[in-house]
């Protein structure tokens, strides 16, 4: 996909991740033991052969910048193209000005890039997708725009839906949280010519639209050939706490684990150089996902441990997610809890949440 540039649009991403996004944007929310949400789309782009990726950031992007660095973990530290982080142009710039303004403000980046096509995406689609199939589909249908969708029975996130005719042509796009229309969830990934994108942005702005994803593309639904391309792999749309928790727990299914992390390519992330995880006698771990650098002396069940977590003797962790460097001290009990980074749970504490409403412990808290 040498002729395609990727754009990950973080402007006005729907966010109901509560305390998890207090200090970071949705793109850099830790997920699946060692990743950030953005890693999945970014790695998919890179694995598909895209070497020019622009990330339009909006707010709270310090942690994202730290995570992405020069882009070397994604092989995007290039002499030509590579990774471009494009923060807001205006200071104190906030919504309701939409993403159209943000992209338009950086139109030089679009003009300077030599690629003919653009793949637009959001950051919170947890998937592993080969975009080459999308490009073939787009060309075969002589589409103006191709949107990626997934058939999903259960809607637990804020997501747009699409309606298509029998020829895969998109006839309607529905707002998030509208009454459910069928089961085709838009992955908000759009494939189109760069010249068309620039045209849409300029005319939409002139017409007073603000939002590319929500308004501008939908406004052109009858004028342009918009096609829907079905994604078959695992998808988690992670923008609510419920979907975050549910899709985390789904990773404990080995077939999801194998699908999402290995096929068609690997998911890359920032390297930490942690040693292997140590399982000490008397501890017991079952049905859990564990990253490197952990030391487990207690009981871990149906849980996800990020890098460098310590579970001390007699501690139990069930149905929970413990992020990087969390320490659960002796004889504490954690059930259905999401523990953010660098948290210490002192001895003999009990924290209990519910599967439908997991208890969240904010970053760096000591309980």
């Amino acid at each position: 996909m040498k002729n395609v540039m990727g754009i990950i649009n973080l402007v006005n991403e729907p966010d109901q991740l509560e305390q998890l996004t207090n200090h970071r944007n949705i793109a850099s929310v830790p997920f699946a033991g060692r990743y950030r949400l953005i890693d999945f789309v970014l790695s998919s782009m890179v694995n598909s052969g895209i070497t020019n990726v622009g990330i339009f950031t909006h707010t709270k992007y310090r942690s994202l910048m730290d995570h992405l660095g020069s882009g070397k973990e994604w092989d995007l530290d290039r002499k030509r193209s590579g990774l471009f982080i494009l923060p807001p142009m205006k200071e104190g710039w906030i919504s309701p000005m939409g993403d159209l303004h943000a992209i338009h403000a950086h139109r030089d980046y679009l003009h300077r890039s030599s690629e003919e096509y653009v793949l637009l995406s959001r950051s919170y689609m947890v998937c592993n997708i080969d975009f080459n199939g999308l490009q073939e589909f787009h060309n075969r249908n002589q589409a103006d725009i191709t949107v990626v969708y997934k058939e999903m029975s259960d809607l637990d996130s804020i997501s747009m839906q699409i309606g298509m005719d029998e020829n895969s042509r998109v006839r309607s796009i529905w707002e998030p949280n509208a009454v459910p229309h069928g089961n085709k969830v838009s992955m908000e990934m759009y494939f189109l010519k760069k010249s068309l994108l620039i045209d849409i942005i300029e005319t939409s702005l002139a017409e007073g639209h603000y939002n590319l994803m929500k308004d501008a593309i939908r406004a052109n639904i009858s004028r342009l050939n918009i096609f829907g391309y079905a994604y078959q792999g695992y998808l988690g749309i992670i923008n609510t706490i419920n979907s975050y928790y549910k899709h985390s727990m789904n990773l404990l299914n080995p077939s999801v684990w194998k699908d999402l992390f290995f096929k068609p390519g690997l998911i890359y992330t920032k390297i930490k150089d942690e040693p292997s995880t140590r399982y000490i006698n008397n501890g017991h771990t079952s049905n859990s996902l564990v990253a490197n650098g952990c030391v487990i002396e207690g009981i871990v069940e149906n849980s996800i441990l990020f890098r460098g977590v310590r579970i001390r003797k007699g501690a139990t962790v069930r149905n929970s997610i413990v992020m990087q460097n969390g320490v659960i001290h002796e004889n504490s009990s954690i059930v259905s809890v999401i523990i953010d980074k660098d948290v210490i749970i002192k001895e003999a504490r009990t924290l209990v949440g519910h599967e439908k409403a997991p208890y969240i412990v904010v970053k760096r808290k000591i309980i």
């Binding site: 999402l260 690997l266 150089d273 040693p275 399982y279 006698n281 049905n287 859990s288 564990v290 490197n292």
Partner: protein, 389 residues
């Protein structure tokens, strides 16, 4: 080129014959160790953690995998504008060329490489030891002692003295005698294969040695004895901590098992002295409900349904349902089928062990070795065992 006070020369050309099948296709420093590392990671990480940013890696035997692994030195932060890591294989000069005939000859043939940095000191390392050491402190010691050559030493068990280069020292740590693998000795101070030389002196001795036709061109056998004879100031630098030569299957297995000791002195999780390695980019490990993992080290990308006791699983290892692994080291991407039993074994990279296989025995003292990329079925294994292979 910018002047460097001290550069390192890392000897990584060894064949490692005693590691048998593990080194059939790769050099010993590239052999896997400790769940995610290769042996050479320790020396390279020590360099970068000690502030030494120029490392020449001398390769000779089967260098392909080692070359690919080291690359431009990125994982160890040795991708530098000035210095960094350089791979130094033997090469042809105007008057022909030669393989490296010995450790000293390897350095001698690369005098030009060293001289371009115009160093005061040269640190000579070997790529086949497991240890964490601050070379900067040793350099400080070398300077303080106004030494010409400093050899890092460690006390070894008396029964093992015949395996090492043994030094005798006086009260001021001055080396009085050096003997390669002595049968009996009054000293148990072993050379760790870590040397700091004042470059001017070393260069002189390398050139002298190169002119000798009967020399074996080896540091331990030729250079050090020659220096001692001439009264050059040789000092022993006493090191305390974990150090292991992993030259044999037994010692490689032991060094791996040492990591499972609760009070091992080789702290891999010390964040101030990380051991770096090339990251395989694998997802977190999955430990199934049926699994039972005790006193073990498990790396990313593993998927475990069976039982793992007192063992080390490298990245990407699969352990099937009903299988039991005891006291073993399973190298990257090995697939262990269902109802397999493995005792006291080293299983090589990418090997597939079929269902119901039995590898090793709980009664055996010996470590069973299954090579890299083998494919074992239970029938095949039993035939092999009968033949004693």
């Amino acid at each position: 080129m910018m002047k460097k006070e001290c550069i390192a020369m890392l000897l990584a050309g060894g064949e490692g014959k005693r590691l048998g099948k593990l080194t059939k296709k790769l050099a010993k420093p590239a052999v896997f160790f400790g769940g995610k590392y290769r042996i050479i990671d320790f020396a390279l990480s020590n360099c970068t953690n000690s502030g030494i940013d120029t490392v020449g890696v001398l390769t000779q035997y089967r260098p392909q995998e080692l070359n690919r692994y080291i690359g431009i030195g990125k994982p160890w932060d040795l991708d530098r504008k000035e210095g960094g890591v350089s791979i130094l294989p033997p090469y042809i000069k105007r008057k022909g060329g030669d393989w490296y005939k010995g450790t000293a000859d390897a350095i001698y043939q690369n005098i030009d490489y060293i001289e371009q940095y115009n160093p005061e000191y040269v640190l000579v390392l070997s790529g086949d030891h497991i240890y964490k050491m601050d070379y900067e402190r040793m350099l400080h010691f070398h300077k303080e002692q106004k030494s010409d050559a400093t050899i890092a030493v460690i006390g070894v068990e008396w029964k093992d003295v015949s395996r090492f280069g043994i030094l005798s020292v006086d009260d001021n740590n001055k080396v009085t005698q050096f003997r390669e693998k002595p049968l009996d000795s009054t000293s148990n101070l072993a050379s760790m294969g870590v040397y700091i030389y004042t470059w001017k002196i070393l260069k002189h001795y390398l050139e002298n040695d190169a002119a000798q036709t009967i020399s074996s061109h080896d540091f331990g056998k030729d250079i050090i004895p020659m220096m001692l004879e001439d009264g050059v100031k040789l000092t022993a630098y006493p090191f305390e901590g974990y150090w292991k030569d992993v030259g044999t299957i037994e010692s490689l297995w032991e060094a791996n098992m040492d990591l499972l000791d609760d009070d091992t002195s080789l702290k891999l999780d010390d964040r101030k002295w990380r051991i770096y390695s090339l990251n395989p980019n694998q997802p977190p490990q999955y430990i199934a409900a049926s699994a039972n993992v005790n006193n073990s080290l498990v790396n990313e990308g593993c998927i475990v349904f069976g039982e793992v006791n007192h063992s080390i699983l490298f990245y990407g290892v699969e352990v099937g349902m009903g299988s039991v692994i005891n006291d073993s080291v399973i190298m990257p991407n090995a697939i262990i089928g269902e109802n397999v039993t493995i005792h006291k074994a080293i299983v090589g990279e990418g090997t597939i062990i079929g269902d119901l296989s039995v590898v090793g025995s709980p009664d055996s003292d010996k470590v069973t070795l299954v090579g890299n990329y083998e494919s074992l079925t239970s029938e095949f294994l039993s035939v092999k065992e009968q033949l004693g292979i």
